[in-house]
Symmetry: C2
Subunit: 205 residues, 2 copies
């Protein structure tokens, strides 16, 4: 239900933010179901139960909507990971959880794999999406790299591990096995076991 009065007057900014978030949620669901390439603003509007005009009102263009969908999908998945993250005595413990929680069977995480894979395909043919993907990927690698540095400081990660190389390699492994898991080509158990093995090889040295 959309209170159009509030949108016209701008008197309900909190409500507007909620509606914008609800539309972004719907966009994630729409991408998960039918992909990015064929996605029309009308599909997102139908999924959200609002008018296409309202989607344009909040997002401006289809490209901006897609960019926002990608960011929102990541944020949903990250929030889910944060909710499940247990306090760890070491940076390495946190890093392990960060990676392994990406292989859990919950909607926010799984839809993010689908959205991510869709964005990857679109990035081949769309420089804007490619730039956005690079930005999000770099931020993700930087997050793991920071944990490797912290782990070297607290002694939970060996001094032989190069933070930038380890972060690239571990996120690559996660991408590879996570994609297979998402497609049903590998069990979550096997995927997690391979990530644990990669962590041991990269971080014990």
């Amino acid at each position: 239900m959309v209170a159009k009065t509030a949108i016209r007057t701008g008197s309900d900014l909190g409500g507007a933010q909620t509606r914008k978030t609800a539309i972004a949620d719907s966009a994630c669901r729409a991408v998960e179901r039918k992909g990015v390439r064929d996605l029309r603003v009308e599909d997102v509007a139908a999924e959200a139960g609002v008018s296409p005009a309202l989607v344009y009102y909040y997002f401006g263009t289809r490209d901006a909507l897609l960019a926002e969908t990608f960011s929102h999908s990541n944020a949903l998945s990250a929030a889910e990971t944060d909710r499940r993250l247990k306090p760890s005595a070491t940076a390495r413990g946190t890093l392990e959880q960060f990676l392994l929680l990406e292989l859990t069977e919950v909607w926010a995480v799984r839809q993010n794999w689908v959205v991510w894979t869709e964005m990857l395909g679109s990035a081949l043919f769309d420089p804007t999406i490619s730039a956005l993907l690079a930005e999000v990927t770099d931020a993700w690698v930087a997050q793991i790299e920071a944990l490797v540095r912290a782990g070297r400081e607290d002694g939970s990660i060996g001094p032989g591990a190069s933070p930038s190389d380890a972060a690239e390699l571990l996120t690559s492994v996660l991408d590879g096995v996570g994609t297979k898991w998402m497609l049903g080509h590998m069990t979550a158990r096997r995927a997690r076991s391979l990530v644990r093995e990669a962590i041991a090889r990269e971080l014990d040295g």
Copy 2:
């Protein structure tokens, strides 16, 4: 130029195979340029300079054409790798070349990355493509696994390496860094250096 007489009479099977291959080449180019999702049989026909009817004649359906395109793209890339592969005294040397040659700037290899990524995106929404992708991926992992086994036998790979795990992890790393390289988010030099590092960590043990 297509000799339709030969097709009608079936008297020129070698020529027919050549034409089928030429159409598959064109399909690879078409996928590389505009992706799989929007690809019509007409686009492939136009790229090949033949009629859509002829494409249907050789491939039957759009799905069969896509499957053939994927296999053909892999075959082109594999042939290019074979051409560049230097004789190696050890299975490990061959394995290293196999992986690193996937990061060389030649058309057959690069277009295969694009086709592969496109197929991955389509696999999300198409069980036939998903099954095909699983088959091709499994064959690729099995090829690397066989080289790890051979390397353990010839002594070039340490006894601590699990052939199946090492093969999954190394192909995952290659996928991750190769995708970034293809998108221009990582240099070929950095990608190759990371693959070398992963090989050392996986196979020295």
